[in-house]
Amino acid sequence: MPRTSHWIIRSLSHVDVILLVLVLLLLGISLAVVTSASGESPARITGHLVNIALALGVMVVMANVPPHLLSKVGPPLYAVGIVLLVGVALFGEIRNGARRWLDLGFMAFQPSELLKLALPLMLAWYFQRNEGGLRTKHFFVAGALLAMPFLLILRQPDLGTALLIGASGFYLLFFAGLPWKVIVGGGALGAASLPVVWGLMHDYQRQRILTLLDPSSDPLGAGYHIIQSTIAIGSGGLFGKGWMQGTQNQLDFIPERTTDFIYAVFGEEFGYVGAVLLVALYLAVVARGLLIAARAPTLFGRLMAATVSLNLFTYVFVNMGMVSGILPVVGVPLPLMSYGGTALLTLLLGIGILMSVATHRQLNKS
């Protein structure tokens, strides 16, 4: 028993207290909102608690994995991910008109989820290997490593996931020092190629964007989500209608309100004041992550910490932007708020990596 408790204390010593407090605050809010959004469904609340417990466990475990070990997982994980993506392209199961799933017999698996973690790990490992001598060719190689999964996922087609994975890869390149002129030039090129991209897009994707520009054009179809969620948020006002008091929420007007559209419930019940607090909490997490990155002793740690932080905020921005009607509807959950095991697990895994980077400074030098 003493040995066990010793192990627990040593594990907890790798937990970053500030991040832990912020995460627990967000999860507490999440629990409250899920309770309200689910109509106090006992199944949902228990399910959410179980997910939180599991994900927190994974976070603690990740916090204890030293970065140098983690970096070694990058290349094999990336390789497996690419193989699976090719497998999907060849033998994947078609659902909703897209070839995204791999039937593993016992479960349907989306390899693109794996790449969300594998790609940054792979790139960070690659840059770490070439630390101190980074040249243009390294960025070319890294770009190719990024392009491969990006194009495979884009082909599925899954524009949303492709862009999010592309963004995480881009952040890594950016923090690794991708020249500004390349970034600006690429941005200009991207903007110039928009008409071409538009032409390559699928009808439903174009529809989503058109719907965003004018939700009332399809009030019962694609526009319904946006209309109802903006009504919920807008009617919340400055201070909100109060917890469990949101009429749009309670009366079932908000679609997918425990998962992707949970921010609509939050905005209706807690108002603008609540929204400011929520964004402040996310900014605090990101700030803590960037600080960890700034202090990290290795390039791998720096790149991973910075990328994970920015990634998290990207998800926040895409989700809240979508729910409040400034971005097209893509299936992205709100980090640490939405109900759902996989997303929570992936996120706390990332936070765990941040903690690991934060607490393995001395150890890494040996």
Partner: protein
């Protein structure tokens, strides 16, 4: 060779990384600002707009139809009432296969061919999202069977609905009218008059009779329940309620007992009768024979029954009192007499010698009197009592068509009487201008001659005749006939009487009126044309018989040999009032193909007078134990 990495490079990369971190932080802050800006716009700037959207999102107004006002006779007997019953209704859009549901319903409860025909007709007329009744007045057992098998009947639902029941029977169908389902034409009319909103939730509307003309009063005001609804439109709870205001009840001048007596007196004859209170214009009885059962129409009539009713040669759907137009025949004579006296063309003592015919100067054509050989020496009083044609041929010529027209016009001939029912015919009072306008022909003197005895172009409704008769009875007061005597406010339950509408007071010299009245009293006394009908009355009656050649309302197209003989017979007319000294009732009776007014129409009037003035039921009715008088 990681050890060979130059330190300088590491430092430069670290510095660059810190730069990038700052850029990343700025990027994050910018995105956060965008989110908070959007939030500010939605939750602060646009808050009022969205709170309104949210309210309309969750609140729906569910209309509650008001109870329709009742229709009562003068003694409070119910003529039209409401009752609640279950109906089986189908909605096309909710049924995946309507025919399958129909077949399934047919296995569970009995659907008559008539009900099915009616359903198909209503289905064809209605919008696909509307519910259409298949079977109404379900028994408790049927309701239970349908409820138990509800899952097998997509698109079917059992609803409790308010129905109208007409207790009064076929004879009253033309007075009370009936309600029916609101159709496209009704909807258009409601929209045009701005009343559409008030009919949300209402299924029925008055189609004929009082139900139609007093629709706005009977309907009431629709209430609204403010219901909180969820996203799928299901009502969750009631937030507030604006209760419906029931329609007003109507109390008629009409006496259901009197009406029954009048109907009974008609026997098998078709025709029309209207009895007025000459002092108020109140309609005491209004009969149009044959009648029909108005209850058939309440929930939609099936096409076969409708066809039978509509194509019947007896035309039961036409209100003969309002719309049947007939030559007035000799009933015009009292009015002609008044015209002669009032214009100074005749004095009461002016007499003619009647040889049995009349001839215009410079013409050899004989206008014959109904009595071969003539009436001998005839003054006005006798001319009316014996219905001397020759006297009135000559009077008409002396008056001329212009003076005749102008005088008769004051008695509502050729004009709508203004009764509180829709669809009244104005009849036709000919004039020189009318003929020029209508036929582009000049007026011939011969036409004036026959106009003097109510033949020729002159066409009148029984209602006009009764109104004119009432004017003789009340001394020239032209009152609009009214069925409704009072309305009951649904909230205060207080009866508010409606004031009689006096349109005009025609100045008639009392001494002139007295002569004509005396003539009319003579009609029903020995020596008069209706002396048999007036015999033994315990009050003094005054009347005038009439006979009209058959040109009245068009008969049906169907050829029926057994009816042929009767069809050629003249229409019998009779106008009267009583008691002569202080008239309380004025009447016009028209019996189609009844022959002579004295023998068929006058006895009907007598039966009505007897009941109204003395409470005496006709002998044959007493035996039947008719309960209409209770």
């Amino acid at each position: 060779m990681p050890l060979a990495t130059p330190l300088k490079n590491l430092d430069r990369e670290l510095a660059r990384f810190h730069g990038r971190l700052k850029a990343g932080a700025v990027f994050v802050v910018l995105l956060a600002a965008a989110l908070l800006g959007r939030g500010y716009y939605l939750q602060v700037t646009q808050h009022d707009y969205y709170i309104q959207r949210a309210e309309s999102n969750r609140i729906s107004l569910v209309p509650t139809a008001p109870n329709r006002g009742l229709i009562l006779d003068r003694k409070g007997r119910i003529l039209a009432e409401n009752y609640s019953a279950y109906t089986l209704e189908l909605t096309r859009t909710r049924a995946s296969d309507l025919e399958a549901t129909l077949a399934e319903v047919g296995k569970l409860i009995e659907i008559t061919p008539g009900e099915l025909r009616r359903f198909r007709r209503l289905l064809a007329e209605s919008h696909e999202f509307e519910t259409v009744p298949l079977k109404s007045k379900l028994t408790d057992e049927e309701v239970a069977i349908l409820a138990a098998n509800h899952y097998r009947l997509p698109g079917a639902q059992v609803k409790a609905r308010l129905f109208r029941n007409y207790r009064a029977g076929p004879g009253m169908a033309h007075v009370v009218g009936f309600i029916g389902r609101i159709n496209d034409r009704d909807l258009k009319a409601l929209r045009a008059s701005g009343r559409e909103e008030n009919y949300r939730g209402t299924v029925h509307i008055g189609k004929t009779g009082l139900e139609q003309s007093y629709e706005a009063v009977l309907h009431g005001r629709t209430g609204f329940d403010q219901m909180e609804t969820d996203a799928s439109g299901r009502a969750v709870r009631m937030l507030s309620r604006i209760p419906p205001v029931p329609g007003k009840d109507l109390r008629l001048y009409l006496d259901a007992g009197l009406q029954a007596v009048a109907e009974h007196a008609f026997g098998d004859y078709t025709g029309g009768l209207v009895a007025l209170d000459p002092n108020t214009g109140g309609v005491l009885a209004m009969v149009s024979k044959p009648g029909f059962d108005p209850n058939l129409f309440v929930d939609g009539i099936d096409p076969e029954t409708w066809k039978t009713l509509n194509e019947s040669p007896e035309r039961p759907m036409v209100n003969r009192v309002l719309r049947g137009i007939y030559p007035p025949g000799s009933t015009i004579k009292p009015f002609m007499g008044l015209a002669g006296l009032e214009t100074g063309v005749r004095t009461p003592s002016d007499s003619i010698v009647d040889p049995g015919y009349f001839m215009l100067p410079n013409s050899s054509h004989q206008y014959r009197d109904w009595k071969r050989g003539g009436h001998g020496i005839v003054d006005l009083r006798r001319a009316i009592a014996q219905s001397c044609d020759t006297y009135f041929y000559k009077l008409a010529v002396d008056l001329g068509i212009d003076r005749m027209h102008d005088f008769l016009e004051k008695f509502s001939f050729g004009e709508k009487t203004g009764i509180d029912l829709d669809g009244e015919s104005p009849g036709l009072l000919p004039s020189r201008e009318w003929k020029e306008r209508r036929w582009k022909k000049i007026w011939y003197p011969g036409e004036t001659v026959i106009a003097g005895i109510g033949q020729g172009y002159h066409l009148t409704t029984p209602l006009q005749l009764a109104t004119a008769t009432a004017m003789i009875a009340n001394g020239g007061k032209r009152i609009e006939p009214r069925l409704v005597e009072a309305m009951r406010d649904p909230l205060t339950h207080v009866w508010q009487p409606l004031a009689p509408v006096v349109r005009d007071q025609v100045p008639i010299k009392p001494e002139d009126l007295a002569v004509v009245r005396q003539g009319m009293v003579d009609v029903v006394h020995p020596g008069g044309t209706a002396s048999v009908a007036g015999a033994g009355a315990p009050y003094t009656m005054a009347g005038k018989t009439g006979t009209a050649q058959v040109v009245g309302i068009k008969q049906g197209a169907r050829y029926d040999a057994s009816r042929l003989a009767r069809q050629y017979r003249d229409h019998a007319l009779f106008i009267a009032y009583a008691p002569a000294e202080n008239p309380r009732i004025a009447i016009a009776v028209l019996v189609e193909n009844g022959g002579h007014g004295g023998s068929t129409a006058a006895p009907i009037a007598r039966a009505v007078f007897d009941y109204y003035l003395t409470g005496k039921l006709p002998g044959s009715m007493k035996a039947e134990g008719n309960d209409a008088s209770d």
